[in-house]
Symmetry: C2
Subunit: 462 residues, 2 copies
C-alpha cells in the first residue's frame, strides 16, 4: 500500500515489508491498491461502485481504494470502460506479480485457473478477495492454508447472498454462539422459477424461460436448477458456521427440475409453498447438510421470500432466531460485499497478529456427516393411479410394510378412464425406506407414472 | 490484558503499556480481562454466556475472557451467583480504576451515573461496552470524543436489536453503501401489544397486562409504549447510518397508547396491520426521523413480524434491500451482542491505528432535520359522527379547505341514535394541515369524539 501524493509533514516506517508513511493533513488519506482479475458483470460493477462511493468509503475508513491493475481474457471488455491503458494487463500473472498490488480480487469463477491464480497471489503475500463459491466449496481448506502460511487472508463475503453480509454475521456477529441450524434460500434463479410457478401457476419450462428472458438465469443455469450452486454456497457457510471442512460430496442434493406446477398447486391447497432450501444442522454427534425442494408452511417467513431474493434463517444458542433477507446476486449487491471485504482487509492488515480470517477457525471437534439414509423427514407424495377401489389399500399396504405412516390422503379428481393424482402426507420416515417403498409401489399395474416425493419441513422444526 | 498461566516458552514485549507475552504451546491462549458494572438480568446472563461458550470463543479468537471485577449497587444480587468473593467490588469506581481491567461493560442503564462511569473508564484507557441506548441517544458525541481522545473505543452492538448484529451490519457490512432509509420494529414490548391486539382483537389495556404477565413489559414500560425506547434506538442507528449526531429531540415521537382495538380491526379489514415503526430517511438535503404507529399493507414483510420480535428493513444504494429479523431483548440475545463487542475490541486493540469505532465516522455533510410540519404522509382517519346525511359533506368540506384529498371512505355502522365510526384514507398531506383540519372538524356538533389519525406507509415507498 502507498499513500496519496499529498504534502508530507511526518514520516515513520511502521510495517516491515511495505513502505508506510503517515501524513498529517486536514484529511489523512491512505491508499490501498487493488488488482481485479475478470472484468465481466461483477468486475466492472465493482469498479463503478468504488468510484461512486469513493468519498463515503474514505470518510469511513480513512483509506482510498486505488485500482492499479485489471485483466480479462477477453480484451474487448475494456473497450467502453474508460480505464487507463496503463492498468489493463494482459495476463492474470501480471496482476498477481505486480508489486504495487495489495489486494487481488478474483472474479473469473470456476475451478481452474482461478485456484492457481488465488494460490499464486497468496504466495506473493497479497490479500485475496473472491466471490467464487464453486472453488471455495471443495478447495477452501487448501486455499486457507496457503493464506495462513503467507500471513495474509482470503475473503469471500460476496460468495454467498451478495448484498447480505451473511459471512460477517456468521464469523463476527454470532461469534459468541454455537450455530445450531440454518435454512436458506440461497439461489435466486431457482427461487424465481418456483415463485413464478407458485404465484402464476406457470410450468417449470415457462418459468425457466421467463427467468432467462429477464436475465435472472445465466447461460449455465443447470448449476442453479440442479441445486449445485446452492450446495456450493451451503458448503461455504456450513464450514464457517460449524468449523469443519464440508465439501460438495458431503451434501445431499436434489434440484427443482422435477417439480411440476401440479405439485405446487396441490401443496398450495394444503397450506404449503415449495422452496429450494439449503439446510445445515449441527447435531450432537453429526452434521446434516442437504439441498432439496421442500414443502414449507405458507405462514413460515421463508415461504414469503419471493422472486430472485435470497434469505436465510439461522438458529443459534444465544442469539436464538435470526433471519436475513436481501439481494443474492447482481453487480451492485455483489460489489457491496466485495468492498466490505476490502475494508476488512484494511483493518486486518494493521493488526499485529491474527491476520486474515480462516473459514475453519470455529472447529471444536470434527463431526461425522450424516448420510442421506439416516435423515428422517416428513414427505409429500403424489401417486398417479387408476381410480379403483382397491388402489389405496395396495399403496398403504406397501407403505405399512416399510413402517411408513400416513398422515393424510387426498384424491384430487375422479376418472374411470385415466390415472388421477393421489396426494399423501407422510409422517417422519427415513428417505431410504421411502425410496424402497415407492419403487415397489411404482411397479403396481394401477400406478401409471413415477411417484413424486418432496420433503416437508414443519414450522415447529424451523 | 494478561496471558493465562501456561508454560512459557517464548516471551517478547509487544505493546507499550501492557505486559504482553507470547506463549507457544499446543493451544496459544491469551486473556482479556473484563469488569462488569450492573449484575441484573443482562449482567448475570453475560457471565453465564461467557462461561457456556468459553471453548468456542477461544477457538475462534484465540482469546479467553476473564471476569476480574463486577459490581452492583444491590449486594444481594450476588447471593446465588457462585462468583468468587475477590472479584465482587463495592463500587463502580473499584471496577473502572482496577488496573487489571481491559474492558468495562456498563449494564446499569439510565443517564447518571452511567455517563460518569463510562467517561471515567474511557479516561482510564479502558475499552467500554454498553447496551445503554438512552445514554447514547443524547450523549454519544461527547462519549465518543472521550474515547477518541484516549485512543480507546466505545462499543454498543447490544443497544439495538440485542441478538441481531445490526450495528455491525450498518458499520461494516454496508460500509460501501450510502444508506437511504430504514424502517424498524425495534421495541418488542409495543410489538407484542400490537400483535396481540391484531391477532386476538384484544384491547390495548388487556394486551399490556398480558405483556406484563409474560415478562415482556418491564416495570417502567412507559418508555416502550410511548415510543421513547424506539426513538433512543433510532437515534443510535440513524446517527451511525447517516454520520450525524441525531438526538431524541430531533425525532418526532408518537406512542401506541391511543391505538384502539377498533382501529386495528378497521385497518385489518382494509388490508393493513398497525405497527410501531421507527423510520429514518436520508434525503437529498435533509434527514427525516420519526417513531409512530403506522398502517402497513399486510403483505409487507414488516407486517408479519409478530410478538416480541424485532426487525428492520434497510435500503442502501448498492446492497439494495436488506431485512434483518430476530430477538430484540433478553439475557442471551443481549449477551450475544456484548460478547461480539468483546471480540471486536480484541481485534481493534491489536491495530496500529484507527482503534475504536466512532459512531459518527460516516459523516459527509451535516443535514437539516426535517420538521414534523414538512413531512407528508397518507393517513387513516376515524371520525365518530352522528349518522346524518349532511355529515360527510361537512367533513369533506373542511378537508377540502385544507387541500386534503380523500382516497376512500367507509362508514362502519348505521345508527340514528349514537355516533358511528367513519373511516377515511387520505392521500399524501402535510401533518400540520391535517391537524388543523381535524381540530376544526372535531368542533362540529355532529362529531362526538376526538378524531383519530394514523400514518400509512405504502408498499411502494418501502
Amino acid at each position: 500500500m502507498y499513500f496519496m501524493e499529498v504534502t508530507m509533514r511526518e514520516a515513520s516506517p511502521i510495517s516491515d515489508n511495505k513502505k508506510m508513511v503517515v501524513y498529517k493533513r486536514r484529511q489523512i488519506s491512505k491508499e490501498i491498491n487493488i488488482g481485479i482479475i475478470g472484468f465481466g458483470t461483477i468486475g466492472s460493477a465493482v469498479v463503478k461502485a468504488i468510484k461512486k462511493n469513493e468519498s463515503i468509503f474514505r470518510k469511513r475508513t480513512g483509506w482510498h481504494i486505488n485500482l492499479v491493475a485489471v485483466c480479462d481474457k477477453d480484451p474487448k471488455v475494456f473497450r467502453n470502460s474508460k480505464l487507463s491503458r496503463d492498468i489493463i494487463k494482459r495476463k492474470a500473472n501480471d496482476v498477481i506479480n505486480d508489486p504495487q498490488v495489495d489486494i487481488v480480487i478474483e472474479l473469473i469463477g470456476g475451478i481452474h485457473p482461478a485456484k492457481e491464480i488465488i494460490k499464486g497471489a497468496l504466495a506473493n503475500k497479497k490479500y485475496v478477495i473472491t466471490a467464487n463459491k464453486a472453488l471455495l466449496a471443495d478447495h477452501k481448506s487448501e486455499l486457507f492454508k496457503v493464506a495462513k502460511d503467507n500471513n495474509v487472508g482470503l475473503y469471500y463475503e460476496a460468495s454467498v447472498m451478495a448484498g447480505v453480509p451473511l459471512i460477517k454475521v456468521l464469523r463476527e456477529g454470532l461469534i459468541a454462539n454455537r450455530i445450531k441450524s440454518m435454512w436458506g434460500i440461497i439461489n435466486g434463479t431457482s427461487n424465481y422459477i418456483l415463485s413464478n410457478m407458485y404465484n402464476k401457476g406457470a410450468s417449470f419450462k415457462d418459468s425457466l424461460k421467463e427467468a432467462k428472458n429477464k436475465g435472472f438465469a445465466e447461460r449455465n443455469y443447470s448449476l442453479d436448477i440442479e441445486g449445485i450452486d446452492s450446495a456450493h454456497k451451503l458448503a461455504v457457510i456450513s464450514s464457517l458456521a460449524f468449523g469443519q471442512d464440508i465439501r460438495l460430496e458431503d451434501i445431499s442434493i436434489e434440484g427443482i427440475m422435477s417439480i411440476s406446477s401440479a405439485d405446487i398447486m396441490y401443496a398450495k391447497e394444503l397450506g404449503y409453498n415449495i422452496k429450494l432450501l439449503a439446510i445445515a444442522k449441527n447435531l450432537k454427534d453429526s452434521i446434516e447438510v442437504r439441498v432439496h425442494p421442500t414443502l414449507l408452511p405458507k405462514s413460515h417467513i421463508l415461504s414469503n421470500v419471493d422472486g430472485v431474493y435470497n434469505a436465510i434463517y439461522i438458529q443459534s444458542d444465544l442469539a436464538d432466531d435470526l433471519f436475513l433477507y436481501g439481494q443474492g446476486a447482481g453487480g451492485e449487491p455483489t460489489s457491496s460485499g466485495i468492498i466490505s471485504d476490502i475494508a476488512n482487509i484494511i483493518s486486518d492488515m494493521q493488526k499485529t497478529e491474527d491476520k486474515g480470517s480462516d473459514i475453519l477457525i470455529n472447529s471444536l471437534k470434527k463431526k461425522r456427516i450424516k448420510g442421506l439414509d439416516e435423515i428422517e423427514s416428513c414427505f409429500y407424495i403424489r401417486f398417479m393411479a387408476i381410480d379403483n377401489p382397491g388402489v389405496l389399500a395396495k399403496i398403504s399396504g406397501i407403505l405399512g410394510k416399510y413402517k411408513i405412516s400416513i398422515a393424510s390422503v387426498v384424491q384430487k379428481a375422479k376418472s374411470m378412464q385415466k390415472a388421477v393424482p393421489i396426494i399423501m402426507l407422510i409422517h417422519k420416515t427415513k428417505e431410504y425406506s421411502l425410496k424402497k417403498a415407492l419403487s415397489e409401489i411404482d411397479k403396481l399395474s394401477v400406478i401409471k407414472a413415477r411417484s413424486v416425493a418432496i420433503k416437508i419441513e414443519q414450522e415447529k422444526e424451523l
